[in-house]
């Protein structure tokens, strides 16, 4: 399942956008969103999901349980 950003907690700092290896993150109305089609949970790229590791607000980039697991892990 891909990651999603909880908009109400997002500071709009763009750190995740700069780190995402899949260019899956973009700005939308002052906060950032993850394109679930592009997110690979960073599997195959890095040991830890980059958006989670760099986000200044804990528990803001979280797995979206409503969507299927990413291709890479399946």
């Amino acid at each position: 399942m891909p990651f999603k950003i909880i908009a109400s907690q997002c500071t709009g700092c763009s750190a995740c956008e700069l780190e995402c290896p899949n260019v899956a993150i973009s700005e939308k109305g002052g906060t950032f969103v993850i394109d679930p089609k592009k997110c690979t949970e960073c599997i195959g790229h890095f040991d830890e999901p980059q958006c989670v590791a760099v986000c200044p607000v804990d528990n803001t980039c979280v797995l979206d349980p409503s969507l299927p697991r990413s291709q890479a892990r399946a």
Partner: protein, 520 residues
């Protein structure tokens, strides 16, 4: 984090207090405005003649690197760098309020193109604006593309503006060559510790090499990278200022060691700043009750470090989008909307002519003081005291007591008048009404001062100040600060000598926390 636990766990000289730190350093007396007596350069008050010509050329119109310049020249920050690569317990990126003035906070983010237009707009409106800094609101080097693009655009359009940046240092070694190539000749690194055990209490994590590190390991990487970056900059002749946040019980005594470490690696200037930790900021330190230092605690530490290297004492801890002289913020005049509507006419010749006038004004300030210093030459006294000054800039006593957003503090002794800091205050008088609560606050902010120099003051605050033991002085209105302070000091010494008054020590003062509420 539990602060009491931090205090106990502090591996750093538990028994020693700041008094002892100061004792250990009494060999290094701070220098007064005589300048250059003991060292090649004296504090950030260094003047022409104290410094090698190449360095003087770099700092003479930079308000952050030269205390004297900050009375005359303005700076601006552009907020093009929102992302950060570390987390600090004194920072909360969510908090943004136009009434609040502290690093890490901005009202709007800009693209490099918007930023360049803003710089030109400000440079045309405020000809004494000589420095563009990028300081965040995140870390400039965590946003290298936007940061360097902004500098490139500005260098092309306004080549007379000095460029500087302020970083936490984690990514610094990777970008030193780009910094040198773009002629960024001032870099500030925030270094609050060189001991990872202490660092772990200040930085919960860092993001480095695509990983999040926590605890002592994170702090070790951070300090190694900071010191490496500092050495690399110093090798290339780029002037480095070190900012240190003083956090009582965590790194206060340790900052003397930080001072030695950065000095030995070629730092030019050290700026020890008080922790800002009001609970409403929502920072870890704000929420866990970690206090900031008192005015005297801060001054004692700055004095202790001064023998080792130049100390900056005029820092206003400004926002990442501040515009204007230090201590003022004209950012609201230059919102993106207003800038984009502006017809900007950048005229280098007008700027040069204006700055030539500023230099004349500046020379007059120095000459006036030198003259008064000569008057004091025959005096011998151990008396050393602080005075507060209400000033709008230009080195003059030109602000009404009730309108002052801050007071500049000078230390007076027979060796001269030395700028040692400033105290922020909410203007006492708003629209002509004095408010009692805020008067008491201002008295607390300048409680360690013997006198306050103002352009004008009302009857009620005057009598309250006298009651508190602070002498209000309006007879030096619109005169040069240092000249007036020394003239008053001379008469004070004479009165003490004749027995007309008795010299008594003053107590401590508080450092203003929280939002600056600007008077309409």
């Amino acid at each position: 984090m539990d602060v009491s636990e931090c205090n106990e766990a502090s591996s750093f000289g538990g028994a020693a207090d700041l008094g002892e730190v100061k004792q250990a350093h009494t060999g290094h007396k701070g220098c007064g405005t005589l300048g250059g007596r003991d060292k090649a350069s004296c504090g950030s008050q260094a003047r022409q003649g104290d410094l090698p010509p190449a360095i003087w050329e770099k700092v003479k119109s930079h308000p952050c690197y030269s205390e004297e310049a900050h009375h005359h020249y303005a700076r601006m920050h552009v907020a093009v760098a929102p992302a950060c690569n570390i987390q600090c317990n004194y920072c909360n990126r969510k908090y943004d309020c136009a009434n609040e003035s502290r690093p890490g906070v901005v009202s709007e983010k800009l693209t490099p193109e918007q930023a360049a237009k803003k710089v030109l707009a400000v440079a045309s409106t405020i000809p004494q604006m000589t420095v563009l800094g990028i300081a965040g609101p995140g870390d400039p080097l965590a946003n290298p593309k936007k940061t360097f693009k902004t500098f490139e655009l500005v260098a092309k359009a306004a080549p007379d503006i000095k460029l500087c940046l302020s970083t936490n240092g984690l990514a610094l070694p990777d970008h030193v060559d780009a910094i040198a190539r773009l002629n960024i000749d001032h870099v500030t690194i925030t270094i609050t510790m060189i001991d990872p055990e202490i660092g772990a209490k200040i930085y919960p994590w860092i993001f480095y090499g695509h990983r999040r590190y926590t605890g002592v390991k994170a702090a070790k990487i951070l300090t190694d990278r900071q010191l490496q970056g500092l050495e690399m900059l110093a090798e290339r002749g780029i002037l480095c200022k070190i900012n240190s946040v003083m956090i009582p019980g965590i790194n206060d005594q340790h900052l003397v060691d930080v001072n030695k470490a950065v000095k030995s690696r070629g730092a030019f200037l050290h700026n020890v700043m008080p922790l800002i930790s009001a609970p409403q900021h929502g920072t870890v330190f704000g929420l866990n009750g970690q206090r900031g230092p008192t005015a005297q605690e801060l001054k004692t530490l700055q004095d202790a470090c001064e023998g080792e290297m130049n100390m900056m004492r005029h820092c206003r801890q400004c926002r990442a989008d501040a515009v204007g002289l230090l201590g003022e913020d004209r950012g609201a005049e230059f919102t993106t909307e207003k800038i984009m509507a502006m017809d900007v006419n950048y005229d280098l010749e007008t700027r040069k002519a204006y700055q030539a006038k500023v230099e004349e004004e500046r020379a007059a300030t120095v000459a006036a003081k030198q003259q008064k210093l000569a008057d004091l030459a025959g005096e011998t006294s151990d008396i050393n005291l602080l005075v507060a000054v209400a000033s709008k800039g230009s080195g003059l006593i030109n602000e009404h007591f009730g309108h002052a957003k801050e007071f500049q503090v000078y230390e007076l002794s027979t060796s001269g008048a030395k700028f040692v800091g400033h105290r922020r205050a909410d203007p006492y008088c708003q629209g002509g009404y004095g408010e009692e609560g805020s008067l008491a606050t201002i008295i607390r902010m300048i409680n360690d001062c013997h006198a306050v120099f103002v352009a004008k003051i009302g009857g009620c605050p005057k009598s309250e100040l006298i009651k508190a033991g602070i002498e209000p002085l309006d007879q030096y209105a619109h005169e040069f600060i240092e000249k007036s302070a020394l003239a008053w000091f001379k008469s004070y010494l004479a009165k003490v000598q004749s027995g007309e008054i008795q010299h008594v020590e003053r107590g401590d003062a508080a450092i203003r926390q929280g939002a600056l509420i600007s008077a309409a």
